[in-house]
Amino acid sequence: MKKKETAWRILVMACGLFLILLTLSIGAFLCYRGLGTFTHYGHSVWEFLFSADWKPADDFQGGGQVGAAIFIVGSLSTCFLALLIATPFSLAAAIFMAAISPRLSEKLLQPAVEIFVGIPSVVYGWVGLTVLVPFIQRLFHLPYGYSVLSGAIVLAVMIFPTITSVSADSIRNVPKQYREAAYGLGSTRWQVIRRVLLPAARPGVLTGIILGLSRAFGEALAVAMVIGKRLAFPDGILSPTNNLTSAIASDMGGAAEGGEFNTALWTMALLLLLISFAFILVVRKITSKGVREK
């Protein structure tokens, strides 16, 4: 009996340990491959992050240039524009779900949000490519419709469910007394939302926004389909550019394993990993602060 207990305990613990091992080995492998740009091919971190000269050699001698600034700027601009588009709408939807009509939301909006989450990213990309890109091309009389704006709109649709559901949860979790006290003082519903619910739910809303941002950063194929893959800084939101994930997705297959080009792409993947880890730390900080305030 005792033996069985111990064996069982070891078994479940091993599965827990496996998750740690998996995370660490993903990190280790990415470091091992990604740091090669700096250690083996002798480029500086500064060059990788801030130079726009992207001409890595597709061989084992190296000697090319690995400035990834265009991709980084491309990722940043699409993600923040997406956030700018998605946040007001998502917040409004979250307020509607939590404070205006919970009953209607449970029947209609909640399932709709879940379905939005479930739609695969390539389908978003495909619709972006076949509907949004031609639409933007015609609307602004552009030579091509591929642009930062197209990427940002596709991303905005993809991250809105994340922001909405996390924010709605945190608005719902505001203690009932807050709401009742505000109504008791004669506030209108909008005043309650604006002055009581939103300030009290701020940590949760921020968490939702950061989770959305982190999803946008990591999204690869949907953006790759509409961004245009032009190796230049965007001149504006209507100009095509490229981003980190698209570069990895489209070039990794053709680059020689272990060459400078290939290694530079691994460095980009390492950068993505670091960014997503940084987002987690920020979310932790926000939530732990929120708990302390309560």
Binding site: G16, I119, W126
Partner: protein
């Protein structure tokens, strides 16, 4: 009525209308989106496109289902066991905190990063070619954190007196977990597994360099497991529906690539609907059956 008062009421009205408008806009957007995709799929429908050969998307459909099945076969046992550990055995200390950080990191990893890791470990390191198993392993990495946290949450939501009752009858901790607590968690775990499956069906970035972008199946000899064209052989390249949509954008060689992509998109959307409605229904029904609650 003072002016300020009137203004407050007016603002309230305007904002209420605006919020209703946004909610309506989202419902409309979803309706337009799905109707567009399904409509396009239906308009271009042609029986040959569903065929299980190189022209149709039947093989890709089979690959998608088979790959997700393999992925769940790997991730469900490990994920549920890890969830049990987190809920029942892990003490509140630094180690558990670190494990929690690891789970969070895993769940927010960009899927392309997981795909690259899978490519390096499951394809390059074993000197293999792109294959379904590598894809399934990559997808299982993506679904592990979801299943772990679902199981942990479900176990924590079990009323304390169930556990105490079981202990009182002389059951051990293991027996209590396996016979009393886990059965009560089944509805929620199944909902989590269905959600994970839904994510797996649509996954493409993680499969680009693991499952491969081609598929060649010979249905007439499906029992020959070692043959590279056997449908059930997990060590053959297996393009999924989502990958096919991506491929028809980048390397469209077939004349009907756009049509095939439209059809694949329609099938994927249908699967998403079936799965999210299914998750709700199964969760609800099992909930009543397993916990004996009536509502």
């Amino acid at each position: 009525m003072s002016r300020r008062h009137r203004n407050a009421i007016l603002t309230d009205r305007i904002m209420t209308v605006a919020l209703y408008a946004v909610a309506g806009f989202f419902l409309l957007l979803l309706a337009a989106f799905t109707l567009y995709i399904l409509g396009k799929g239906a308009a271009e429908f042609d029986a040959s496109i569903l065929a299980f050969n190189t022209e149709g998307i039947g093989n890709q459909f089979f690959n998608t289902v088979y790959l997700v099945f393999l992925a769940l076969l790997i991730s469900v046992p490990i994920g549920v066991a890890a969830g049990i550990y987190m809920a029942e055995y892990a003490k509140e200390n630094k180690f558990t905190g670190f494990l929690r950080t690891c789970i969070e990191t895993l769940s927010s990893l960009p899927s392309i990063v997981v795909g690259l890791f899978g490519y390096l470990v499951f394809v390059v390191a074993v000197h293999g070619k792109w294959n379904l198993m590598a894809g399934a392993l990559a997808v299982s990495i993506l679904s592990l954190p979801l299943i772990t946290t679902t199981t942990e949450d479900a176990l924590r939501a079990i009323p304390k007196n169930w556990k105490e009752g079981s202990f009182g009858l002389g059951a051990t901790h293991r027996q209590t977990i396996l016979r009393v607590m886990l059965p009560g968690c089944v509805p929620r775990i199944i909902t989590g597994v269905i959600l994970a499956a839904g994510r797996g069906f649509g996954e493409a970035a993680a499969l680009l360099y693991t499952a491969g972008m081609s598929t060649d199946i010979n249905w007439s000899r499906w029992w020959k497991l070692t043959s590279p064209v056997c449908p059930l052989n997990p060590f053959r390249p297996g393009e999924t529906l989502a990958l096919q949509i991506w491929a028809s954008r980048t390397e469209a060689v077939a004349p009907n690539a756009a049509q095939v992509a439209d059809m694949s998109a329609a099938v994927l959307i249908l699967m998403v609907f079936v799965f999210s409605v299914g998750a709700r229904m199964i969760g609800h029904r099992l909930d009543r059956k397993m916990t004996g609650s009536r509502d």
